[in-house]
């Protein structure tokens, strides 16, 4: 009995309808939160006493970086579920994630390098956070390249799912090895997030942006998920119903 929800999540028509119903509940809050966060970050938050207005980049950099990691983990969890229970919906969800994750990883890298420009005097410094982010980008690109190299959708799903699972096991190892490497070479790091002494006026917009981006991700995932489910579905009556909406 406790498993019925799990089986329902495995049923493509059910999830398709559910995703359609849930979409507005994430789209509008995401838009509202991001607008509020932008206003708070750009206008209400006081300039940092050390970094001045430069620190405002945190309000776009941190949510992008958060998003990139959240997307990768979500993708890997969905992939694992798809592999273990051979659940098509889970594969569809994993497939929906990659492009979202890769684009926000690029955003995190670019904003990070713009943020570091003043501190480092150069756009690229081998900052451990940025290096980890760069490797995460490579992991996303590898996942997407593998998917597009395999013609058969089921095989692409399963092969890329395995890659995502292997990748997520490696992400912490990569991250800590980069930190270790950095501790040996002493590159300066300006990006210390979540300082406990951050005043509320600075912290609040950051939290609002983080929540807003999380809602944005769920919204994007729900929209893409519907498309990916349709691609995997073959029952005509069902497709006709879904298209009639």
């Amino acid at each position: 009995m406790a498993w019925t929800w799990f089986h329902r999540l495995g049923s493509p028509p059910h999830v398709y309808a559910l995703a359609a119903r849930l979409t507005p509940w994430f789209a509008w809050p995401a838009a509202a939160l991001i607008l509020a966060g932008l206003y708070g970050g750009l206008v209400l938050a006081p300039p940092d006493y050390q970094q001045g207005d430069d620190f405002r980049i945190i309000y776009v950099h941190a949510p992008s970086a958060w998003m990139s990691l959240m997307v990768y983990v979500t993708m890997a969890v969905a992939a694992a579920v798809g592999l273990i229970w051979r659940m098509k919906v889970a594969h569809a969800a994993a497939a929906s994630c990659a492009a979202i994750g890769a684009s926000f990883t690029i955003a995190a890298l670019a904003t990070g390098s713009l943020w570091g420009r003043k501190m480092w005097g150069t756009y690229w410094e081998w900052d451990p956070r940025l290096v980890s982010e760069l490797i995460l980008l490579f992991l996303f690109l590898g996942y997407m390249a593998l998917r597009s190299a395999i013609d058969d959708l089921q095989r692409a799903d399963r092969a890329s799912a395995l890659l995502a699972v292997v990748g997520v096991v490696n992400v912490p190892i990569i991250h800590y090895s980069v930190l270790w490497w950095n501790s040996l070479h002493q590159a300066p790091s300006v990006m210390k997030l979540g300082k406990p002494d951050m005043p509320a006026a600075m912290l609040a917009p950051l939290l609002i942006m983080l929540v807003g981006f999380t809602f944005l991700f769920v919204y994007l995932l729900l929209v893409r998920l519907r498309g990916e489910i349709l691609r995997r579905e073959r029952t005509a009556s069902w497709i006709r119903e879904a298209l009639a909406e």
């Binding site: 051979r86 013609d151 058969d152 959708l153 089921q154 073959r234």
Partner: protein
């Protein structure tokens, strides 16, 4: 002792947008043989590969001795031998070495076993030659020697008589006859009927999707 019979119930298989196997039902018991026919691309190879458990069913059930093969795939695999359209031989190993490594992974073999099997298929003369130097028909005979050596109850053979001369085709028929007399189960994908005497040849015609 498991009852030797393979059963497929309404098995479904898709390849991308192609519905390769649409609700196939079959049951082949001990001493029975099923010939799978159909045009190129009708899914004969896919059916055999599905019956071995290589390709996962999307729907339906696959049973060996009344139990789902997916419960214990290694146990099921140790009951079968599958021969695809290419003989799984390494060009740089001799025929004997090929059999030693191929079959040896499952059963321990002595040199005498290999000699006997090679003699049985009329391949004793080229046992020491690298597979590279063998003709397609000769390789096929070596592969048949492997099939015998596995001594498995279930045979799944994909076009076993390809590249064989008339005598070779009769040999395939005789080997299958012997397997059926020992209570084996044989499923073959074929273009033309094999010369098999001992069993009523049952046929499954696949139509291109």
């Amino acid at each position: 002792m498991v009852r030797r019979s393979i059963q497929a119930e309404r098995i479904e298989l898709w390849r991308g947008e192609r519905h390769v196997l649409a609700g196939i039902d079959l049951e082949v018991g001990a001493g029975e043989m099923l010939q799978v026919t159909g045009a190129n691309g009708s899914g004969k190879t896919s059916l055999l590969r599905t019956l071995c458990g290589l390709m996962h069913l999307e729907d339906g059930r696959l049973l060996w001795g009344g139990r789902s093969v997916y419960e214990d795939l290694p146990a099921f695999h140790s009951q079968l031998v599958y021969l695809g359209h290419a003989p799984p031989l390494k060009a740089d190993l001799t025929a004997r070495e090929n059999l030693h490594y191929w079959v040896g992974i499952r059963r321990s073999l002595g040199a005498a076993d290999i000699t006997a099997a090679l003699e049985r298929v009329g391949a004793a003369a080229w046992g020491e030659q690298p597979a590279r130097t063998l003709s397609a028909g000769q390789k096929r005979r070596v592969a048949l020697a492997g099939v015998i050596l596995f001594a498995a109850p279930l045979w799944l053979l994909d076009e076993p008589a390809t590249n064989l001369d008339g005598e070779g085709q009769r040999l395939v028929g005789t080997l299958i006859d012997e397997q059926l007399q020992c209570g084996g189960v044989v499923i073959v994908a074929v273009h033309q009927d094999l010369p098999v005497r001992s069993a009523e040849p049952r046929r499954l015609e696949l139509s291109a999707a």
